[in-house]
């Protein structure tokens, strides 16, 4: 019952917002309360590692659509609750049309629906709705660049979804089902037939366009950077993670670990290379999202229980601090009127104290320092890496993260700033508190076995060493001279790259 109510209540609220323009804000608050209650009930249902599932309309999984939830769904639902709440509080002083709230509710409804989806076609439909909603949100202010970027986003993701549907067709032709758990049963183990490889490559390619895997999601940096800060927070914190969740579901069934490992590595390193070479604050954050998605993809690619736990923890943590980063960056940009980090530094006395603190918390969490949110996920991911190569890759991405964020260091000076807005402080707090108190929160939410994994190792020293090493690299690397090509982001080239990405995935799946 909860699994249906979570998405559908948001859709009901969105149509109510459409009906009652002036009450949109109040309705959003009510729906937040409803969500909190429902997620509480969900927590009660899935505690101790239980799974709840429901066949919609009373049909079984072979006839109808199945929804199911376990602790993964729970923690992501909590992420959605926090990010959605923070964004709506952040915007409470801004005059927005009710249209925005309609879209916000639709977005949250889609997110909840994807978390519980077990059916590949249902995932397709939901992803399409999510695409359209985020497309409209990116273009909300109607500046030319927003319109162009969101059009590009729509066209590339529509192509991706076409590829996904083709994969679904291949799959249905051979397996006769679109339900993931049935599919797992039918595929059995060690299925290396050609159709499995082709269909899984098609599905992964389609989802990767949405999920922020670098060679596929070439729309992402621009879209996240030019959208309103609140929208950027939603996209980077939530929407991208939904692609990752779907990738996780696919990786549980299909033999796609090698492609995910390679793609993850590429995404991580290229994302960092671009992040290091840009000076635009929001572009930096967007590229940085890409690199962290690479981190997650590597975790999904290894696919052991430890790695999956680590990936989920890191995805949730990253959702929290990336949303916070985007919101704080929005305040910084609004108060200084500058996009470029170098010009922001000139006007840094204008930045309110709360934004500075929020940025500091988010950046520390991003660097993976204890006790912030980023640390636990990274620690588990590192502890689960069994081969030296993968460990090296993960550490390299972490170091790159440090290097790309050191540009922001001069922002954190101690001094008085202008007065702060209360609603923004509340919204920053809503995200910062779970970031700081990540470990007790997870202890409370996760089943015991997951949690014991998280505490198996505690490489706090390691994470500090990474930061120190990153500072050294930043100091001595000629990173100012790094220029990355821009043409890959153009529409035609991006299309070509997506198709080549499919061939890459296909080829990599053939490897043992």
């Amino acid at each position: 019952m909860i699994l249906v109510l979570l998405p559908l209540s948001h859709f009901v609220f969105s149509s109510l917002c459409l009906a009652w323009h002036r009450g949109a804000r109040a309705l959003t608050q009510v729906s937040w309360g409803v969500d909190a209650a429902l997620i509480g009930a969900l927590w009660w249902g899935v505690r101790h590692g239980k799974t709840i599932s429901v066949g919609l309309g009373g049909w079984g999984r072979s006839l109808g659509i199945e929804l199911s939830a376990d602790w993964v769904g729970l923690v992501f639902a909590l992420l959605a609750l926090l990010v959605g709440g923070a964004v709506s509080v952040y915007l409470s002083r801004v005059t927005l049309r009710s249209y925005f709230y309609v879209l916000l509710h639709l977005l949250l409804g889609c997110v909840f629906s994807i978390l519980f989806a077990q059916d590949l076609f249902n995932i397709y439909v939901t992803l399409e709705l999510l695409t359209l909603v985020s497309f409209l949100l990116v273009g909300y202010e109607r500046t030319s660049i927003q319109i162009w970027v969101s059009l590009k986003y729509l066209m590339l993701t529509a192509l991706g979804m076409g590829i996904y549907l083709l994969g679904l067709a291949v799959l249905y032709y051979h397996a006769g089902t679109v339900n993931l758990s049935e599919l797992g049963v039918r595929l059995g183990t060690g299925a290396q037939q050609p159709w499995v490889i082709v269909s899984s490559s098609l599905l992964v390619t389609g989802v990767a366009v949405k999920a922020g895997i670098f060679v596929f999601s070439l729309w992402l940096p621009a879209a996240h950077a030019v959208a309103m800060p609140a929208v950027g927070a939603l996209l980077s914190g939530l929407v991208i993670k939904m692609g990752v969740v779907v990738l996780m579901r696919l990786a549980a069934v299909f033999p796609v670990s090698v492609p995910l490992l390679v793609l993850g590595t590429m995404t991580g390193l290229l994302g960092i290379a671009y992040a290091v070479s840009t000076y635009d604050l929001r572009k930096l954050l967007a590229f940085h999202t890409l690199s962290q998605i690479g981190y997650l993809a590597v975790g999904l690619g290894i696919g052991t229980r430890v790695e999956l736990t680590g990936a989920v923890e890191y995805a949730v943590g990253h959702g929290l601090f990336k949303a916070l980063l985007f919101l704080a960056a929005g305040t910084v940009i609004a108060s200084t009127g500058q996009n470029d980090i170098r010009s922001i530094l000139l006007w840094r006395s204008r930045i309110p104290v709360n934004a500075r603190l929020a940025l500091l918390v988010a950046v520390l969490a991003n660097l993976g320092l204890p006790p912030f949110a980023g640390f636990f996920g990274k620690a588990v991911l590192l502890s689960g890496a069994e081969s030296v190569l993968i460990e090296t890759i993960l550490i390299a991405i972490s170091i790159g993260t440090v290097v790309s964020f050191l540009k922001l260091l001069p922002l954190f000076w101690w001094g008085r700033g202008p007065s702060t807005s209360r609603s923004q402080s509340v919204s920053f707090l809503l995200l910062s508190v779970p970031i700081v108190l990540f470990s007790p929160l997870m202890q409370w939410l996760l089943p015991e076995w997951c949690w014991s994994l998280s505490f198996r190792t505690f490489p706090a020293v390691e994470s500090v060493l990474i930061v120190v090493f990153g500072c050294l690299v930043y100091r001595f690397l000629p990173w100012r001279r790094i220029r990355m090509p821009d043409w890959v982001f153009h529409l035609e080239e991006a299309t070509v790259i997506i198709i080549s990405g499919f061939l890459l995935v296909c080829g990599l799946s053939l490897l043992p």
Partner: protein, 236 residues
Amino acid sequence: MSVHRSALAVYAVVLVVAFCGILLALFAYHGPDESSGRDYINRGVGDTGAVNLVSAIYLNYRLYDTLFEILVFSVAVLGVRFYLTDQRASDVVESVPESHVVRRSADLLFPLILIFAVYLVVFGHLSPGGGFSGGAVAGSGLLLCSVALGAGVVARRFHERVLERLEWTALLAILLLALLPLLAGRPALYDLLPRGTPGRVASGGSILLYNLLIGFKVFVGTWVIIHFFIRHRGEI
């Protein structure tokens, strides 16, 4: 630069050919013989009461997908309305009505189209058709009407605020109808109505009800989309 371009072009062609080649090779390889979907064929009519198995799946077994699809359509309507209003504050420009013959034929044709649309909607569970097709047909019929009578006339008859209200009411009704079984202690999206005798109009449980609501909603939505495209242009 041009070298880069032409190299890219050659690469793209090779790529697409390889892509198609892989898929074609895959499908040339012999697929499974057993036919899927036998479950639906064997028990579909008994389960849902609808003779048309496609609408049985569409509006009963997999109603959840259809809800999302309706939402996608609503989002499209919403987006078109949002981005095409207050671009240019032109109200509907009275286009010159067409000649007498055209107008007469539109007068004749529109009721026919409407009857066809209603047939598609009402008999959706018995024969091909359904809410979406019916609604789209009716909406396109209204376009024909506005070509003949002038967009202003039609726009006055279907007022914008009213349209908006009708649209969200239909959406809300569909969503609440889907959630209603929860009150009866059933799983959500469960079909509460009796199945009836398959083959009759009054059969198939709630499928007819959903078809009517969807048809209405799509009709209104289609007209809103077309209306805004016309208004943005200023004429037809």
